[in-house]
């Protein structure tokens, strides 16, 4: 039984915050994978330095004893060691900087045109998502609000304070452009699995470019203090099930459905425009 449980835990990816979690959630996008790789690179040097410094510290403390070492050495110069202890610590940050800058600049690079634009608008204390790529006029954007499910309404198996009523549905393995903004106060939209965190500033459109590589349900939380219910706002309102576009078309019968209806069905929400409390 324990073996089975352990197997299950290794197979199911971690896409939401786990209790007593120490490491990152599993990567779902190349950006997050890059971040985790950089973390592993830096951590290696970190451990090296930590062990070295601890060893010297412990050794010095251990031998600093009035009976065992009554005459401490009085060495004040040592040209060789001074040169070495200057050169080596300046080489180590170089090893850290190279992958770090590589990741930093590649994160900013938008090489491919995005295939879909989703607007995530933060409110106090919920999110609104707009899919406007298939509008035929100014009035028809697919828009829905995404509220965190209160504790009393949770079903068995749902995560407390992570589940929302309407999830954002997004195609997998597609370049997405997410435009993040806010309608009232600053919020922040974060999905740790995808390595995404973007501030939602009123009056400003912030763009992030992601490409989620596997299907699944990803959770995130609001990452900028936005009032009393900040802790209860799900920033992405959790990114919903990521589906491939083929899946979308296969599940909707008939070739004559307009695209907004396809997305609507997948999002499981009624497209409503502007009717906010």
């Amino acid at each position: 039984m324990i073996v089975l449980e352990w197997l299950f835990l290794t197979i199911a990816p971690c896409d939401a915050a786990e209790p007593w979690q120490l490491g990152s959630q599993d990567a779902a996008s190349p950006m997050m994978q890059g971040i985790m790789d950089l973390h592993h690179d830096i951590f290696f040097f970190l451990i090296l330095i930590l062990v070295f410094v601890l060893r010297i510290l412990v050794r010095a403390l251990w031998h600093f004893h009035y009976q065992k070492n009554p005459i401490p050495q009085r060495i004040v110069h040592g040209t060789t060691i001074e040169i070495l202890r200057t050169i080596f610590p300046s080489i180590i940050p170089m090893f850290i900087a190279i992958p770090s800058f590589a990741l930093l600049y590649s994160m900013d690079e938008v090489v491919v045109d995005p295939a879909i634009t989703i607007k995530a608008i933060g409110h106090q204390w919920y999110r609104t998502y707009e899919y406007s790529d298939y509008n035929s006029s100014d009035e028809e954007s697919l828009t829905f609000d995404s509220y965190t499910i209160p504790e009393d309404d949770l079903e068995l198996g749902q995560s407390r304070l992570l589940e929302v009523d309407n999830r954002v549905v997004v195609p997998a393995k597609t370049h997405l452009r997410i435009i993040v903004t806010s309608a009232d106060v600053p919020h922040s939209w974060a999905v740790p699995s995808s390595g995404v965190k973007c501030d939602a500033v009123p009056g400003r459109l912030n763009q992030i470019s992601i490409s989620v590589q596997r299907e699944g349900v990803y959770y995130g939380q609001c990452s900028e203090i936005c009032g009393t219910n900040h802790a209860f706002t799900r920033a992405p309102g959790n990114i919903g099930r990521l589906l491939s576009p083929l899946w979308l078309s296969r599940t909707t019968p008939g070739a004559s459905h307009p695209r907004s209806k396809l997305l609507q069905r997948a999002a499981g929400a009624v497209g409503s425009q502007g009717a906010r409390q």
């Binding site: 938008v110 634009t117 100014d138 452009r177 083929l246 078309s249 425009q273």
Partner: protein
């Protein structure tokens, strides 16, 4: 499998390479209306710009821009 879905949206504009896309939204909106002024209200060629600005600008901003253009002050 029914209709092959083509995913298309406003392309990445090299004039706005950074995270802040506010001016991108505004520029697309202006381009659309300039196109309308140049080619006439009924032209279909401006539909491309219309799609771009609708993809980028949030719905609430449309209303505010529209009110601003009509000279009304937002309350």
């Amino acid at each position: 499998m029914a209709d092959e879905i083509e995913l298309k949206t406003a392309p990445a504009d090299f004039r706005f390479p950074t995270t802040n896309q506010t001016r991108h939204c505004f520029t697309r909106y202006i381009e659309f209306h300039r196109c309308l002024a140049a080619k006439g209200e009924e032209s279909n060629e401006c539909e491309r710009f219309a799609k771009y600005y609708r993809s980028l600008c949030p719905g609430e901003w449309h209303n505010e821009i529209l009110q601003g253009r009509q000279g009304k002050q937002p309350c």
